[in-house]
């Protein structure tokens, strides 16, 4: 299993380039402990398939092939530019969602924060506030929304699933309260150009540049920084993290604030791209964001997952949706593919693992007790499963 490190996808491998300078052992080390449950399950497959990211890369290639067969326009530069700007907001929110899910929590309110931010931006701007100030205000508001979620989770010890389900309705509702079914759309071109514009001389949309910078920053944060290490520790075992002197509640609070901030930023980008501030902007996006994160190999119970995986899964969903749109398949029907991917991304590894366990039980039974004593894997797997069940049962 240790050689799974060698099969990382070369593209988008943010972390490998960061560790390229260090000797091979540490690189292996970093890779090794980020092995997800799904990867563990895949350990018995042929080498090249062993990492989840490799599987995602295959999926991405398949969806690219699908796209090019569905439409002749798919492989054009302008289409890629469109494809990328179309998933901007989800991408921004997926970055923080990754951190939150790895820390063992979830934030379902992101799309509502986006909507609220968009509406408040439109409202304050149309009421005469300078655009720069309005944007700053909206970002602050996003952080405040995150603070509300975070305080409810850390100070009241409420489950984040329920808290953010509540604020999902609350923040969206407040967006309606601010603007009703009205819309603000007369934003200045300078603002909306950021949304539609490209880096001069290229077809790269500006928001994509923003995303790349943020993705690199978040990869560094999650995979290389002390904070990232602490996030994994919290998600793997909250109590042990606390006993190790990690300020669990503070970090969770920080993550929720960050999530609110990013959602508000996504709201600014959304408003600019569509030059439109409405209360129902990005309705239901939280589902896409969660799907992207889970398909990216992040464990819903926390403790494992990687940003490169999430970026790959983001591209897969973006390419799929774009390709299906080009083939005139409506958004709702595209959801069949997205929903199926979400389920399969968790179901697949589970089924593989159960088959393997059954096989190893048979193997152990045939080989007798002496053999069992040496097959150390069977015991840890069992311990791990029960630990996970404990986690979920709280």
């Amino acid at each position: 299993m240790s050689d799974s490190s060698e099969v990382k996808p070369p593209a988008l491998d943010l972390e490998a380039s960061a560790t390229a300078a260090s000797p091979s052992a540490p690189a292996v080390e970093l890779r090794r402990t980020r092995v997800t449950a799904s990867e563990r399950a895949l350990a018995h497959l042929p080498g090249w398939l062993r990492s989840w990211e490799a599987l995602l890369l295959v999926l991405l290639l398949l969806s690219l092939v699908l796209g090019s067969t569905l439409s002749p326009y798919f492989l054009s530069a302008s289409n890629f530019s469109l494809l990328i700007s179309d998933m901007m907001e989800k991408a921004l929110m997926a970055l923080t969602m990754t951190l939150i899910v790895i820390a063992g929590e979830i934030d379902l309110s992101v799309a509502s924060v986006l909507g609220l931010a968009s509406v408040v931006l439109g409202y304050t701007w149309s009421h005469g506030l300078a655009l720069g100030l309005a944007i700053a205000l909206v970002l602050l508001l996003g952080a405040f929304c995150g603070l509300v979620n975070g305080l409810a989770v850390t100070r009241l010890s409420l489950p984040s699933l329920v808290v953010t389900l509540g604020t999902l309705a609350l923040f969206r509702g407040l967006a309606y309260v601010v603007m009703g079914d009205q819309a603000v759309s007369n934003f200045p071109p300078a603002f909306t150009n950021f949304g539609f514009g490209t880096v001069p001389g290229t077809l790269i949309p500006w928001p994509f540049v923003l995303f790349i910078v943020l993705a690199l920053l978040f990869s560094l944060l999650l995979h290389r920084s002390t904070l990232g290490r602490q996030i994994y520790a919290i998600g793997s075992n909250k109590e042990a993290a606390r006993f190790a002197g990690i300020r669990v509640d503070n970090i969770k609070l920080l993550l929720f604030v960050l999530s609110g901030l990013m959602a508000a930023l996504a709201g600014v980008v959304f408003t600019a791209r569509f030059s439109n501030a409405r209360a129902d902007n990005a309705l239901g996006f939280e589902l896409d964001v969660v799907t992207i994160v889970l398909l990216g190999g992040v464990n819903i119970f926390g403790g494992s997952g990687s940003l490169p995986g999430v970026v790959l899964s983001l591209l897969i969903i973006g390419v799929l949706r774009n390709a299906l749109s080009l083939a005139d398949i409506s958004g709702d029907i595209q959801n069949i593919a997205v929903g199926a991917l979400l389920i399969l991304s968790v179901l697949g590894p589970n089924v593989v693992r159960r088959l393997q366990e059954a096989a190893s039980r048979r193997h152990a039974a045939e080989a007798g007790p002496g053999r069992l004593a040496r097959s150390a894997r069977s015991v840890p797997a069992e311990v791990g499963a029960s630990a996970r069940e404990r986690e979920t049962s709280h």
């Binding site: 690189a27 402990t33 006993f243 300020r247 007790p369």
Partner: protein
Amino acid sequence: MEIAAPQAAVPVIELVGVSKSFGAIQALKEVDLSLYAGEVHALVGENGAGKSTLVKILAGVHRPDRGLLKINGEAVELRSPAQAQAAGIAVIHQEPTLFPDLDVAENVFMGHQPRDRLGRIDWRRMYREVDQLLQSLGVELNVYLPVRGLSVADRQLVEIARALSQDARVLIMDEPTASLSPREVDDLFGIVEQLRARQVAILFVSHRLEEVFRLASRVTVLRDGQRVITAPAQVLTPEETIRHMVGRELAALFPKEEAAIGDVVLEVRHLTRAGVFRDVSFQLRRGEILGLAGLVGAGRTEVARVLFGIDQAESGEILIDGRVVAIRSPRDAMRYGIAYVPEDRHQQGLILDFSIAKNITLSILQRIARFSLVRSRQELKIAADYAERLRVRGGRLTQPVRALSGGNQQKVVLGKWLATEPRILILDEPTRGIDIGAKAEVHRIISELAARGLAILLISSELPEILAMSDRVLVMHEGRVSGLFSRAEADQEKVMLAATGQNSRESR
């Protein structure tokens, strides 16, 4: 060395030549055990001797690698807890597993509720039967109470009632008295006597010899996964039993090296946390190992948690180097040079999915980082250093600690805390559940640390360990300090008396 029991010709349940391994550790080796109707059979042994593995095999949780399980003389295979129950085997756990949201009666009858002719649950009959069942045991527990909020003793009663409601013929009690007060223990024993009279076969698992000899008709001693002896309780003495359990002289076990004892580093004055412990005071010096003995539930771990800032005390003072300090979080404690190796290795001590290196450096992240970014080379260097000093074996530094044996895992926890370069080390059951060889190594490490000037507070439920390792022994009983002995004064009997709160009264 089996001496036949007089009760009946065929045992209700019997293990023949049972072996069981987990990974590299052989938990049970060729163990025989028989249980007859109407007998209380005690199973004793040190921690890690294989008692709980044996219990889990009888309870259908584990299946033996080799050997037979016979019920009424017939070989059977128990594939699940449900099958064990169907076969009439019930287990009373140290911490009962019940449904906290449901009431007492529902807990007793879950899965086999009485039903009327239409197949509906007959609630009235259910409450009545549970009430009668409890009354027949001489207890009057409110059957309408939700189990959430019941004491451990009461929850055990619910489990016993549950076993009886299923006509259990074999009752396994796994360290049932561990978290009970002496009064509750008396009550429980009254009930065990009744069950014996009802011809239930009882396996009583304990390491409290006083209780064993009060209750059991036969005793089986396990050591290192093997049966040492099975004999009627009358022919054994507690001293003999201890010798069988330990298998060697105490002195040879784990001697503490002589160390120069220095100034007082940590002092605790009248520390109190309501309902948990009260008025605890002691001093701890450089180079000293202060043993903290007592029964489970006496408040030792709770004191340690307060010292480490996990919980807060309500009154009293903690002094470090003579200055009163406020410890509000583990971070505060670490700043004052305190390290705490917790009782529950898997839940509190380690991140099992993390590698050895990542676990060791978890508490010193800022030291291996530059601009908040972890320097892998630095990390591996420090981890390698501690892994080598503590002789962690069984894996590369990059391997998840999950795959290590208990002893090596414990060394990783020790390494994590030594890496913080503490001055005060609190060890809570540092050798629980690790094999004999690793145990000796951990003892050697502790001893060396004291010699190098660390002040060590050693919490242990194993008396031999406390006696061999400690310079002084502090004993707690029901949340209070009930004795303090020097190394010379301390012996098994004195400490045990203090731990059971009998040193102040006339012994019975």
